[in-house]
């Protein structure tokens, strides 16, 4: 299928880090007002390092692949570094997305930021 890169297909067909973390240290849920898709991220954070991350996504193949790739990119990172994750980085790691599917990677960036902010609000001292 030429619609998506092989990387997107790989992450869509075998998404990494799918699921839920019970008692997560940070949870973020965001939605796309336009197409109506929803992404939820769960983070486990120890000493400022993301030790585990899981996601749930309701959306297209590009949204699911973006969630999967985004979790891979931030796993093991420090919270400050993960905060800097951009949707471009997610899309690039997926070997690109069709232009009209770029917003799906934005959803991944926002979901992770929202989960990190949730963590920070619960842990104001880092």
């Amino acid at each position: 299928m030429a619609l998506y890169s092989e990387k997107v297909m790989e992450h869509f067909l075998q998404p990494r880090n799918v699921g839920v973390i019970e008692n997560a240290d940070g949870v973020g849920e965001v939605g796309n007002a336009k197409c109506g898709d929803i992404m939820k991220m769960y983070l486990k954070i120890d000493d400022g390092i993301i030790t585990d991350v899981k996601f749930e996504t309701f959306g297209c193949a590009s949204a699911i692949a973006s969630s999967s790739m985004a979790t891979e990119l931030i796993k093991g990172q420090r919270v400050e570094d993960a905060m800097k994750l951009t949707n471009q980085a997610v899309a690039e790691a997926l070997d690109g997305l069709p232009a009209y599917k770029m917003h799906c990677s934005v959803l991944a960036e926002e979901a992770i930021r929202s989960a990190l902010e949730d963590y920070q609000s619960k842990n104001p001292n880092g």
């Binding site: 998404p15 799918v18 699921g19 309701f58 959306g59 297209c60 193949a61």
Partner: protein
Amino acid sequence: MQIYADNAATTKMSEAAIEAMNDCMRNWWGNPSSLYTIGQKAKEKLEEAREEIAAIINASPREIIFTSGGSESDNQALLTAAAKGNRSGKKHIISSAFEHHAILHTLNKLKKNGFEVTLLPVHENGVIRLDELEAAIREDTCLVTIMTANNEIGTIQPIAEIGELCRRRGVIFHTDAVQAVGHLPIDVKAQNIDMLSASAHKFHGPKGVGFLYARKGIILQNLIEGGAQERGKRAGTENLPGITAMAAALKEAAANMERDNAHKTEIRDYLIKGLSEIHHSALNGDAKQRLAGNVNFSFEGIEGESILILLDQMGISASSGSACTSGALDPSHVLLAIGRIHDVAHGSLRLTIGEDITREQADYMIDSVKKVVAHLRSFSPVWRDLTEGKKEFILK
């Protein structure tokens, strides 16, 4: 297993159509407008095709003009009726909310030119109501355009009754029969149809060719100006290979229609029964008053593009009305028109089966769809909210 289940999008050309096209390209390549023998032979082929097609819908050959397909026929029919209406100060058009964009976008253009458009509701079952149509007809109504069968949910409209009503009220009736020609019996006289659009690639003919039927007395408005082809109503050297192939395809489709529809209906109902076993799902459109080949379901808690790509991996070609499958990110206007909210339109799947579908293929499709739905629901946050009672199910 490979299953092409998107016959509403397009169909595979039949052997008869390919044969006819090849024969034409090899042997009848002259210009039908030329006066020497090679040209006149081509002309004969052209008129033969016209006669065959006309006979199938009970029209006379003079009432058929060849076009580039459904979109062109729709545009020409609407602009013709509008021009006629304009001349007599009638600038009101009635249509339905779930027409193809070839109709809706043309109506939008006419609105900018001062026409008023009433879109009839199609209700939950995807069928218009005659009393609502009757009530909508005004003194200044110049056209009623209602599709014979819907391309997404396959629901069939009461065409003969609409035709009878329009004839009685003196309003031109056009029907976009692109999904119906070759699949449903059509008799333009018995059904009182004034204009009808058809497209060859929906009945195993080639793409880029179709026809417009216009009852004797309706003077067509040109979209394409130029030579005097098609009695001056559609310029351009005729696409003879396409036209002869279309006639061959339609002849075959018409001859086998009864048998094919009986078979497809049986498999369609089997698919509907099988897919209904999936919890929180629903059939879109009336269960019986629909094309024999059309199955359209919504599954709550998941998104359609993901369904399609997973099914493609399993060898099944299908389609969806999800916003994520449209470049514009809008959910299907057809599903919205039958009252499905965005969330439910999102998880829709259309399977349009062909004549050669088998029971084994149907079993495989049911099994594959069940697997795909379960997989996508297993990590959908919406499904979690629904099952945990944080959100209410819409579909039972």
